[in-house]
């Protein structure tokens, strides 16, 4: 019993780690890309289309596709992180773009008219005013990633999917639940925590 408990904790930690690393990288890439798209509308459409296509690839297939690719692929954690990262990009990019584009034109015009530079407008006006929407995107990406990360076990990256795959092959629903319940709890916790942050930022932007 003690062994099972420590295995659950260990795999939960692995699972959280996978999601955390993937989401962190996805934020580091997706937010700047979303901002860039508001500055260069012409590149916006192809980028969104690319992110959309990735989102439509079935997750198991995406993990499979990545295995034979040199450098980024192979068996193990880094491949899983890359797959999760690709999945997380769309909601983050899209919400960053929508959030920044959604800043009231009058506010932006006043900012320009008063002599704020482009970077001052970005950092002092556009980013603070779109944080709520950006966080909503990160929240959606995180919840999806927690679910998709269960498949990482199929390519040897560990995580709570180990229990689910094992339970499925053993036809033992208790083992499946040992993976599924913690995964659901992680998703709920992430959703709850992020939506609290989101509300905090939304409250600030009321106008």
């Amino acid at each position: 019993m003690w062994g099972a408990r420590s295995e659950i904790l260990h795999l939960t930690a692995e699972h959280v780690f996978l999601v955390f690393v993937a989401i962190s990288i996805a934020v580091a890439i997706g937010v700047p890309v979303g901002i860039l798209m508001t500055r260069r509308p012409r590149i916006g459409k192809p980028i969104l289309a690319f992110a959309n296509v990735i989102q439509t690839i079935p997750s198991l297939a995406l993990f499979g596709f990545l295995i034979p690719i040199p450098y980024i692929g192979g068996i193990g954690t880094s491949t899983a992180v890359i797959a999760l990262l690709l999945y997380s990009l769309l909601p983050i990019i899209r919400n960053t773009f929508t959030g920044i584009s959604g800043v009231e034109p009058a506010v932006r015009e006043a900012a320009r008219g008063m002599g704020m530079t482009d970077s001052q407008i970005l950092w002092q006006v556009e980013i603070p005013l779109s944080l709520g929407v950006v966080f909503a995107g990160i929240r959606v990406a995180t919840v999806i990633a927690v679910g998709v990360a269960t498949i990482a076990a199929a390519i040897g990256a560990g995580g709570l999917g180990m229990f689910i795959f094992r339970g499925t092959s053993m036809l033992d629903y208790r083992v499946i639940l040992a993976g599924a319940i913690p995964a659901a709890l992680i998703a709920l916790a992430a959703d709850f925590g992020m939506s609290a942050l989101e509300k905090h930022f939304m409250r600030e932007r009321r106008s």
Binding site: A110, R112, G113, P128
Partner: protein, 249 residues
């Protein structure tokens, strides 16, 4: 240069044109001068080019021909950021930053200009009193906690905060109810007299133009058809002028 002329030209348009990429000219052949301390009211129908003309002053738009001079210098030779901080700007939608409280909104340009914090907070208090708002009550409020009239007062205070010699106002009272509008118009006229700033005020309301303007510039289809004192306006031999004057009865 002109020792005998005691009042200097603050703003000048020389044969200014602004065309969009399709070639359509939004304003064309605009030439006029505004002396320091004047309030020029640009009057015209929607789409007559008033707002376009205003934005050519602070380089939110750049003329496609001709030149605009602010404080004697072509706007082209100004750094646009410096130019805009030298010119107050008030728009109808106010455009207060919803995530800044009133004090921080008003202190925006002074803080961009890196004034010392104490000077900024003293200035915020002064500006709030100037526009008739109690600094202790309103300084910490957020824009959504204000009425439309109070928001526009804050908008004017924000535009004046860095003490710019020129103020551009684009239908600042257009969205207010008639009573609040009349109140703000009267106070604003006083403010202009007291501060002696050079102002361009855009409106389509001839009553407002008569109440506030030291001169009225009448715009029609991108052209400045007349630039006259309010008294002269009533005697203008021009259809558009008569159409507007007709609204006075």
């Amino acid at each position: 240069m002109h020792r005998m002329v005691s009042v200097k030209v603050q703003l000048e348009f020389r044969n200014v044109q602004y065309a969009v990429s399709s070639g359509r000219k939004l304003v064309n052949g605009i030439s006029f001068q505004i002396l320091q301390g004047e309030m020029l009211v640009l009057l015209g129908r929607s789409g007559s080019g008033k707002t376009t003309l205003l934005k050519l002053v602070n380089r939110l738009l750049e003329p496609t021909a001709g030149e605009v001079l602010v404080s004697g210098r072509n706007t082209h030779s100004w750094d646009p950021i410096q130019l805009r901080r030298h010119i107050g700007y008030v728009i109808q939608e106010v455009g207060l930053f919803p995530h800044f409280n009133v004090a921080r909104n008003i202190g925006l340009v002074p803080s961009l200009e890196a004034w010392p914090p104490q000077k900024i907070s003293a200035r915020i208090q002064e500006m709030l009193r100037l526009v008739g708002l109690d600094p202790d009550i309103y300084g910490r409020r957020y824009p959504h906690e204000l009425s439309g009239g109070q928001r526009q007062r804050v908008g004017v205070a924000r535009a004046l905060a860095a003490d710019p010699p020129v103020l551009l106002l684009d239908e600042p009272f257009g969205a207010l109810d008639p009573i609040t509008r009349a109140e703000l118009q009267r106070e604003f006229r006083e403010l202009h007299r007291r501060l002696g700033k050079t102002m361009i005020f855009v409106t389509h309301d001839i009553r407002e133009a008569f109440l506030l303007g030291t001169r009225i510039g009448l715009m029609q289809e991108g052209r400045l058809v007349a630039i006259v004192t309010p008294d002269e306006f009533l005697t203008l031999d021009h259809d558009e002028a008569r159409a507007f004057a007709g609204c006075l009865q």
